[in-house]
Symmetry: C2
């Protein structure tokens, strides 16, 4: 172990950063053995020098992030946000430092620029913690499946919405009540809109799609729909059909030349591996041509859990600096077209309130068939006083366009009082 210790510069000292600092110290001997050299934490850049940071040597703290980058061999960026994170990461790369980041917003927005810079400089850019906390899906897609052809990536990658939908399923409460509970438990932030509206999941699937399909996919390419419209009755209807409602992030090949990337709530059959992912956990199923269906599962967030992923990346970067080599290039050589939502085919579950009289079912069936959509099942339950009925229609796969048109048509049919909800069904 003759190599001099590598200088680790930590940008940001929040939930994850403080755990990274702690583990670097506590596991110094193990980390050195695995890295082939010592790892020395040379500084921690923070915005507010005045705040007390238990467990961090005050002499390490600095508010000069750029100066810290200049004296680091491996820069660990955990500040979040776009700037100054982008500028500092580019500075590190150009100076020949390796970079480990957990910043999904940065990668979803500026990934191509950062990967190109890392390639040009011949340095590592690792980001396992940016996608699903401790779950090693980035390495799985980037390396384990490097000899295969990925067909589809489907993930439950947002712990907050997963917890909320779980509570709605098991306790029958509405979204607001479940969200309030998530906030009390620390699973949701005071302003949960980035989770609830699917933005967080969209950033993660944009990163995964780029890796899996070797194509530039940015946040703006992701078709997105959050869980605000999900009502307890939707969850109950799903259960009646042997399904659960999950917020899914999906990237898939469409034809030979395109990839479609979307985030939306969907029904999943109970025996699908992702149906058993509960509470704040994350899981990603990757379907590849030869490997079949693989699943990666674990804690999707949490300071300590994400710190484990960060340190795995730090060790990989350190090994490369000691032994030579670098992380795989993220060149977008396949350059698939990003397909619009109109190119995606999916199944729908439509809930309708209708007049309860003979012939209604036939009218509904004809209305659906008129758009070239075929019906898989219809379930009818009688509502208030027998004058109305509730219909649950599940369609076979059809284009989003045909399905949207069908829903519009149904709303216009004379015996239909209301289209209660339209939800996608995945996972067959």
């Amino acid at each position: 172990m003759g190599a001099p210790a590598l200088r680790i510069g930590l940008l940001g000292c929040g939930n994850v950063g403080s755990q990274v600092a702690r583990l670097l110290t506590e596991h110094a001997a193990d980390l050195a053995a695995r890295s082939g050299t010592g790892l020395e934490l040379v500084g921690v850049a923070v915005r507010d020098l005045g705040r007390d940071r238990p467990g961090i040597d005050p002499a390490l703290l600095t508010d000069d992030a750029a100066g810290l980058v200049d004296r680091s061999d491996v820069v660990v960026e955990l500040m979040g946000g776009l700037e100054p994170a982008r500028t500092l990461v580019l500075q590190a790369i150009r100076a020949g430092a390796s970079v480990v980041t957990g910043n999904k917003a940065l990668l979803a927005q500026h990934g191509p620029e950062l990967f190109a810079a890392a390639d040009a400089a011949g340095v590592d850019l690792h980001f396992e913690a940016a996608v699903a906390g401790a779950v090693p899906v980035v390495r799985g897609v980037r390396e384990s499946l490097a000899g295969d052809r990925v067909l589809r990536v489907v993930g439950v990658v947002n712990g907050t919405t997963n917890f909320v939908l779980d509570r709605m399923t098991t306790h029958g409460v509405d979204l607001a009540a479940a969200l309030a509970e998530a906030q009390e438990l620390g699973y949701a932030e005071a302003d949960p809109s980035s989770d609830v509206d699917g933005a967080d999941a969209a950033a993660k699937i944009a990163i995964l799609a780029s890796l899996a399909f070797h194509t530039r996919v940015s946040l703006a390419d992701v078709t997105r729909d959050g869980i605000r419209e999900i009502r307890p009755a939707d969850v109950a209807a799903a259960r009646e059909q042997g399904h659960v409602v999950k917020l899914l992030a999906i990237a898939e090949r469409v034809g030979d030349d395109a990839v479609a990337v979307r985030v939306h709530p969907a029904l999943l059959p109970l025996d699908h591996p992702l149906a058993a992912v509960h509470g704040p956990f994350n899981a990603v199923v990757v379907e590849a041509e030869a490997a079949g269906r693989l699943m990666f599962y674990g804690a999707g967030a949490g300071g300590q859990q994400s710190a484990s992923a960060v340190l795995g990346d730090v060790v990989a970067a350190a090994r490369h600096r000691v032994l030579g080599g670098k992380s795989p290039s993220e060149s977008a050589y396949a350059d698939l077209r990003v397909a619009g939502p109109e190119e995606v085919r999916t199944r729908y579950l439509v809930r309708l309130r209708v007049d309860d009289r003979p012939g209604v079912l036939a009218q509904i069936a004809a209305g659906v068939a008129a758009r070239g959509v075929s019906i898989e099942t219809v379930r009818q339950s009688v509502g208030d006083g027998g004058a109305i009925a509730l219909l649950t229609v599940v369609t076979h796969a059809a284009s989003e366009e045909a399905l949207a048109a069908t829903a519009r048509d149904l709303a216009e049919l004379e015996p239909v009082q209301a289209v209660l909800s339209v939800l996608r069904v995945e996972g067959t």
Copy 2:
């Protein structure tokens, strides 16, 4: 992409090897893009040159494996067995070739020798396909968790026994019937003893334990118990307790200085992630100090699925040859002691047939307590004609020694007619 194509030599052309050959050809362009250079299959060594091998260019076939090794940059060893595999792999390593192997027997037996040789030569030795088919758990433990401290590895890593236990659970059939069905479906070999007796799972967990704990663990260190003694009544009793029976492969830290490695059937609660692993699928849960519980899931066998893992390794080896670097050294720096079974603490489920009369329960409880073991639950059901009762006792965690002594004691108690079975309980 100026680098000359790498010469790939394939040793063995069975189920996995033929798929590797096919994918190397079909995905040549993608593989070249990811590897940074072309991958050229220069030969396929087989024992029987006369056999027809559809899809393989006959000009590539050779029975001179040593000669093929001499003209290969990356040797893919899929012949299985100890010799000549060991000699050929060592020859390749010493000649500076990278090696990818799917040979679990070879690694479980001669891993330390091969890793030391690869380290000395500075070449890659990859073996993802040797542990759980397509499931990327080797890379997960070797790289993703390199910055963490693994506490426990628990896997369902033998598809044959998993299928058999599944059938026993869902169809109530006995072992022989379930095994016959597995053979019909091609999930079990004509001689299934290596699966049924736990030898296959033991080889896999020996490899995983070596990686996870940076310690030399060989096949002989694994305490092993197969599923031959499992009867439908055991499976039914497990279900009554909300559990399923799985053949588990477990490696765990014992105290600060030791690791215990074992394979045995055990009861798992239905909500444990491994309980939902069905049929021929494999899954491994890795519990690490910071990351918490991670799970890796996928196809545990199958030519095409394992070929995906092999090709991921080939790409990694190719990248290292083009860009520099090598796979992590498997030095056994931690060098933990391998603990004997007497050091493991576990919970037991004991099924007893007893006389159905007052005071029996108290006698049993006293018998268990006398060995310092405490009881978690007792369930009683009345058997034939009311003269006998069936007791199901679940203990709290205790040493194997105390539990074995308890089982002996119970058998001697006057009202105990028979100890029907003694099974471990895991997963709390």
